[in-house]
């Protein structure tokens, strides 16, 4: 079902609450909050038709800072609560705010199942690769070997890669953004909002206190354009300060090439197809890691499939069209009954 987009012009201010934002100074969450409020304004859905649902963790405080119908629930269950909200009232624009611990550890089951069902919710997954609110334990996305309070000798665990989980759960939308990259962040979040189905946006955010610089390799402004590639549907996969690097296929694998070298021209560069049903290439793009490859941001996958909430409505309408039972008294009339 369509969310109600109005013609009223909103500004980001319309989506700011009166609550004082209490993240640590320098936290990457501020940037994503600002991008989100800007997108909400651009989207044109009224604050009262917007529901923001979260679990527990630093990022899950976000609903307090947005003017909407907000619900700060319990650890890991945001996806299930958001599913209930959306199914109950598909006209609402529903956002789920979650972190790498909330979403991928305690809430892993709800996450994959909401993705599998393709409930029309927008999931902002704040990935800082650490537990912040509990003061610095390793999370399911913490890099192997990283020293935290709960891994004083380095973690021995293999981390999740959120894109892999999303694709494995048959996700229809996956985007990635970097907190400090405001313009591209807004583009990705807006695309997520417009996508019908579960839109997963992995937000690479910096935790200044417990995992400062986890994405630092990407974040440095002067080298960012060499280490990050913005994927845009229908456009060639070109990146670099000089915009002369690109991605090509070498057998089954991706390869970084330089345009103008070894006879490579722009025509040889792969063109991004976010709408391709097959996830093979999208997966390779999503899993690229430095320093050999740039990290992909932007909308990596965006395919159309029926949403769960719409399917529920459709089925109800179909059954209602055929059934004679409209009211409780009709239901009672279906009983095998007798007089006594």
């Amino acid at each position: 079902m369509e969310t109600k987009e109005t013609t009223i012009q909103y500004t980001a201010k319309d989506f700011k609450s009166d609550q004082y934002v209490r993240w640590c100074p320098g936290c990457g969450d501020y940037a994503v909050l600002n991008s989100l409020q800007k997108v909400m304004a651009d989207l044109g859905v009224a604050p009262h038709d917007t529901a923001v649902i979260s679990g527990i963790g630093c990022s899950s405080r976000l609903p307090y800072y947005t003017s909407s119908y907000g619900f700060h629930t319990i650890h890991g269950r945001g996806a299930a609560v958001a599913t209930g909200v959306k199914v109950a009232n598909p006209k609402l624009s529903v956002w789920q705010i979650t972190g790498d611990g909330d979403c991928l550890a305690i809430g892993g089951n709800h996450f994959i199942h909401s993705v599998r069902r393709n409930v029309d919710i927008n999931v902002l997954l704040f990935n800082n690769q650490i537990y912040g609110l509990t003061k610095g334990q390793y999370s399911p996305t913490t890099k192997k070997g990283y020293v935290t309070k709960s891994s004083p000798f380095g973690t021995v665990e293999r981390p999740f890669r959120p894109a892999e989980l999303t694709f494995g759960a048959r996700g229809t939308f996956f985007a990635r953004l970097l907190d400090v990259d405001l313009k591209n962040s807004q583009t990705a979040i807006l695309a997520a909002a417009r996508h019908k189905g579960t839109s997963v946006v992995e937000c690479l955010v910096n935790c200044v206190i417990f995992n400062d610089g986890a994405h630092g390799w990407l974040a440095e402004k002067e080298t960012r354009s060499d280490r990050l590639i913005l994927l845009e549907h229908g456009k060639p996969m070109i990146f670099g300060k000089e915009a002369n690097k690109g991605l090509v296929l070498d057998g089954f694998n991706l390869k970084v090439v330089t345009i103008g070298q070894n006879g490579i021209t722009e025509a040889d560069i792969l063109v991004h197809d976010a709408a391709c049903q097959d996830t093979t290439l999208q997966m390779k793009l999503a899993l690229m890691e430095g320093p050999e490859f740039p990290i992909a941001v932007g909308v990596i996958r965006d395919v159309e499939e029926e949403t769960y909430d719409a399917a529920v409505e459709t089925q109800i309408a179909e059954v209602q069209a055929k059934s004679k039972v409209k009211t409780f008294d009709d239901l009672i009339a279906t009983c095998e009954k007798w007089e006594m």
Partner: protein, 615 residues
């Protein structure tokens, strides 16, 4: 006809027993509905193993269905059986001790061969003697398998299908034994197999042959007549299971309140039939999410409640444990939510298909923090409807989670249900915010009832932020202020306590002067009522106080209980309600009668208990 005599009985108990695949549940259901249509009071109880298909002919695979019919008010499916239908030796072994002296056992001689006796663990070739079945018991041997095969000779059905119809032969025999016209049974079969004419004809043929077989047996056995009940209030009735009645109670509340019904659920025995029933009702706009786990079942329901639906989740004990944290969220967020716990034997996986009342303290106290919720319990299959309706009404009008306790016994059992109309049900009036109240906060409440105002997402001007963190009483902003937390804890408790003002008073069955007050709650009502009535008929003075509202208790509870010198709390646990009453009514000494065997009370054991207490 060579029937020597017919005996008129006030009430009779029939137990059908066989392999889980023998169709005993269907046979029993058909027979009980047939009897109800003929004007009898009925109460039924299926007793099946948790294995779907245990090895054929073994003790573990025995599935039973008990029917109690009466010409006067019936409260239970009965203790011991007047008639046992045993489809194999295992069924005989499991049920032999619960056949009344002088009762009748109908058994399938084709299934009593040496190998069948071995499978059931008999050591000799005379299972009746081995089990010590009294000579007074009347045996009706019938070669059900081969008679069914003969009956369907020439129908062109495969042998497996043919043998599956032998339950109809036994139904035919039972109809003969109870002088039931089989036309009505045929009518039921037409409804069931209408779309499969081959199966319909086969089943009708076997049923008729079974009936005629009885007629031609020339047995010197008495057949029975159970007259119409004249104690049942006039009206239109059906027979309904507790789980179905629960689902329909939610539907009625949804219609009455004008709110969409949402169920978040995860399959669990013995509660799943509630989900099945609601999933059928898309025509009434019911939304059912079969969630990925128990936690998602309740949290999706909390999401739906937040979004403005009448939201419910159903489960059994292990699932209730998983839902604890989320119930706390509903307490903290002050959102309406109905949680149905169809109790089974525990702890852990326990006895999934058996009945118990062992989740009471979990429902009352099984959460972190000071977390008061409404707890109530239904007492019969039919009144699950009323209490599911009332649970919804209380949740919606008082902005609180309500835990409704039923159990495997009343959930799966059936009883007569007088059909209601929507108009006769009480109205449901949630405490909504209205235009002009735009300055209300998420914690703003009616200062008298302490019920907070409900603003539904999508309504302009009422945006708010709710959640599991403590909130400031006045502003609704998150707060860790010590005084404020105390005030909020007290407010949430007072809100629940205040609900007793809206509950009916506790009604005592029997005299104020009784020598013994029997206290029960929930699904034991039928057995307690039968035992108390039977004892009083014998000249004793016993009263019964049966509770459906547990937190809060009815407001006259203390006053009523204190009238009696001797008080015994009977429950299917080790004393949970007694413990609860001791903390609420400290001046009274509560005696206990407890049983934790996965089975309901029997009327006989209760009478024995009361007799001892009166000595």
């Amino acid at each position: 006809m060579d029937k020597t005599k017919t005996t008129e009985l006030d009430n009779v108990v029939v137990r059908f027993s066989g392999d889980s695949g023998d169709g005993m549940q269907l046979t029993g259901t058909l027979f009980s509905n047939l009897s109800a249509i003929l004007g009898n009071e009925i109460s039924t109880f299926p007793d099946f193993p948790s294995e779907i298909r245990a090895p054929l002919g073994t003790i573990g695979g025995v599935s039973g269905f008990q029917v109690h019919l009466g010409s006067s008010k019936i409260y239970t499916p009965g203790d011991d059986a007047d008639v046992l239908v045993a489809m194999n030796p295992a069924a005989l072994k499991v049920n032999a001790s619960s056949v009344k002296k002088g009762g009748i056992i109908i058994f399938d001689t084709d299934s009593f061969e040496k190998s069948d006796l071995d499978k059931a663990g008999f050591k000799t070739d005379n299972p009746f003697m081995e089990l010590g079945i009294s000579d007074a018991t009347q045996l009706i041997p019938a070669a059900l398998s081969s008679l069914t095969q003969n009956s369907l000779d020439g129908f062109g059905l495969d042998n497996k299908t043919v043998l599956r119809s032998k339950n109809m032969f036994s139904l035919g025999l039972i109809c003969w034994l109870f002088n039931r016209p089989i036309d009505q049974a045929i009518h039921f079969l037409e409804n069931k197999f209408g779309k499969k004419p081959d199966l319909l004809h086969a089943n009708v043929k076997v049923l008729t042959d079974g009936y005629n077989y009885g007629n031609n047996l020339h047995l010197t056995i008495s057949t029975f007549i159970v007259e119409k009940s004249h104690e049942t209030p006039k009206g239109t009735y059906t027979s309904i299971s507790g789980n179905k009645a629960t689902a329909w109670g939610l539907i009625a509340a949804s219609q009455k309140s004008g709110l969409q019904l949402f169920l978040g659920s995860y399959p669990i025995t013995p509660a799943t039939d509630i989900m099945h029933e609601l999933a059928l009702r898309k025509d009434m706009g019911v939304k059912v999410v079969q969630a990925e786990d128990e936690i998602a079942g309740i949290t999706s329901a909390i999401g739906a409640s937040f979004a403005g639906s009448l939201a419910a989740t159903n489960t059994s004990g292990p699932g209730l444990a998983l839902k604890s944290e989320a119930i706390g969220l509903a307490v903290m967020a002050e959102l309406p939510l109905v949680i149905i716990d169809v109790m089974r034997g525990g702890p852990s996986t326990g006895l999934p298909t058996k009945t118990e009342q062992t989740d009471l303290l979990q429902a009352l106290y099984g959460r972190n923090g000071e977390s008061p919720a409404v707890v109530m319990a239904a007492s019969t299959p039919a009144d699950c409807f009323h209490f599911a309706f009332m649970a919804s009404k209380i949740a919606l009008e008082h902005m609180t989670p309500v835990i409704l306790l039923t159990d495997a016994f009343i959930g799966n059992g059936t009883s007569l249900w007088k059909l209601p109309t929507l108009a006769e049900l009480p109205g449901i009036y949630p405490n909504y915010t209205k235009k002009g109240m735009e300055d209300v906060k998420v914690t703003s409440r009616d200062e008298e009832t302490k019920v907070r105002y409900w603003s539904i997402p999508g309504t302009e001007g009422f945006g708010h932020r709710n959640g599991g963190l403590e909130k400031d009483y006045y502003t609704g902003a998150i707060s860790t202020d010590p005084e404020n937390h105390q005030k909020m804890v007290d407010t949430r408790a007072e809100k629940i306590k205040n609900i007793s003002q809206f509950l009916p008073d506790l009604v005592i069955e029997g005299s104020d002067e009784a020598d013994l007050l029997v206290i029960g709650w929930g699904g034991t009502h039928g057995h307690l009522m039968s035992a108390v009535q039977s004892m009083n008929k014998k000249g004793n003075k016993i009263a019964l106080a049966h509770f459906n509202y547990i937190n809060p208790l009815p407001k006259n509870t203390i006053e009523v209980i204190q009238r009696y010198k001797k008080v015994v709390v009977c429950e299917l646990n080790s004393g949970q309600f007694a413990t609860y009453l001791r903390s609420n009514v400290p001046a009274v000494e509560f005696l206990q009668h407890n049983k934790v065997q996965g089975q309901p009370f029997t009327v006989a054991e209760l009478e024995e208990c009361f007799e001892n207490l009166l000595k």
